[in-house]
């Protein structure tokens, strides 16, 4: 930060930049001197504002200490890299415990306020000096708040991306139950990306297994809207173009009602109540007949 300010300053007012650097040094000295007291004040205000309720008092104090030291270090060196790394590390630790974005932003802004208050108190006699101290302090403090908040949000986004990836990897299997008969059990919410992937997998499966009948089971799909229903219709149509019949099973009564209400054209869809019924229907279409073997003699006697 110091170097930044200096390089900006050399173009216009080099003496001012030097003055800013001097003021920041003074500021850092002040914050170091009053470390214990300001840190306690900050931790107290965090608890008062009911922030970080997921953490214990001791944890808050420990984290507050590290954040405070990092904060002062950024003011001193002007380099936010160490703080960025710390913010990422902190986010990794606290996100799984349910700490929200507003809390993280809240505590950083509180620290900014606590430190500003102490500056007001120290320089209250000399208004002009207070002004220049704040001129030096505010941009640096805002940059720190920014860094921590952005670090936290980025970490959250990274976790979300990772989870989406994980869900995608849990992709739906296409299973062969009998010669020329596939089942495709769909579990979970279907979005357009997943629907596309499902259809592609199914079509490849049809070709690879030379399937004639496919049973698509949607028992595990919590809700169906117009988009999902259209994807279903598209899957059925595409499978038919590949020469396979599709049977859809596991349409719950709620889903059936929704579909009728939103007016999706399901006339082309061959629906059977449950997976068992669907497989039986498919076996009938393929000409299979399932027979019970003769019961073992012991049971006959009984």
């Amino acid at each position: 930060m110091t170097t930044d300010l200096r390089s900006q300053g050399t173009e216009a007012r080099p003496s001012h930049a030097d003055a800013t650097a001097a003021l920041l040094r003074e500021l850092v000295a002040h914050l170091r001197k009053n470390r214990t007291q300001l840190r306690e004040e900050w931790a107290r205000r965090i608890t008062e504002s009911k922030l970080l309720t997921a953490m214990t008092r001791e944890e808050i104090f420990a984290e507050a200490t590290s954040v405070y030291d990092n904060y002062v270090e950024v003011l001193e060196t002007g380099s936010v890299e160490a703080l960025q790394a710390y913010a990422r590390n902190l986010s990794e630790r606290i996100i799984p415990r349910g700490v929200e974005t507003h809390e993280v932003l809240g505590i950083v802004l509180l620290l900014r306020d606590v430190l500003a208050r102490s500056l007001f108190k120290k320089y209250q006699a000399d208004f002009a000096l207070l002004n220049s101290v704040l001129d030096a302090y505010e941009p640096a403090a805002n940059r720190i708040a920014n860094t921590v908040a952005v670090g936290f949000v980025q970490e959250r986004e990274r976790i979300i991306r990772q989870q989406q990836e994980a869900i995608r990897e849990l992709s739906t299997p296409v299973l062969q139950v009998r010669d020329r008969l596939l089942i495709l059990p769909i579990i979970g919410v279907i979005d357009s990306l997943r629907a596309r992937q499902l259809t592609e997998q199914l079509l490849r499966g049809i070709r690879a297994n030379r399937a004639k009948v496919v049973v698509v089971d949607i028992t595990g799909v919590p809700s169906v809207d117009a988009t999902v229903a259209n994807h279903l219709v598209q899957t059925v149509d595409a499978s038919r173009l590949m020469g396979a019949n599709v049977i859809v099973t596991g349409l719950s009564s709620e889903i059936a009602q929704t579909l009728v209400t939103i007016g999706v054209d399901l006339s082309k869809i061959n629906a059977v109540g449950d997976l068992q019924g669907g497989i039986e229907e498919a076996e009938r279409m393929l000409g299979y007949a399932v027979m019970m073997p003769e019961p073992p003699p012991a049971e006959v006697k009984a």
Binding site: R207, K212, A238, S239, R240, L241
Partner: protein, 124 residues
Amino acid sequence: MRVPILKQSQYVIASIQSALSDEELLQLRDDLARDVGRYRSRGVIIDVTVLDVMDSFAVRTLRAIAHMIRLRGAETVIVGIQPEVAFAMVQLGLTLEDITTALDLEEGLAFLNRQGAAGARHVQ
């Protein structure tokens, strides 16, 4: 290139060898309409395995061929539509509603044989 049309017992098989221009598609239509009468065929199989693109003109022409052949008293089966092509067609709304499709040539022949068997039983 003209699409070769092969006679195989009661059926004719049009096996598309490369991507077709619009003229070649129309040529195929005319050839099939003629050959189905010439060979007194009961079924026509159009194999599109090599096509990795099917535009709306191709789909419309295939449908026209199927309708024409039905009027000539035979059944049409389109075989070998690739997964990617099937998906793209459905997204474009080109679903070949009333046309029979099958996975490959073997399946197409099996379908026509079943149709023939059903017809024969009717005669008895």
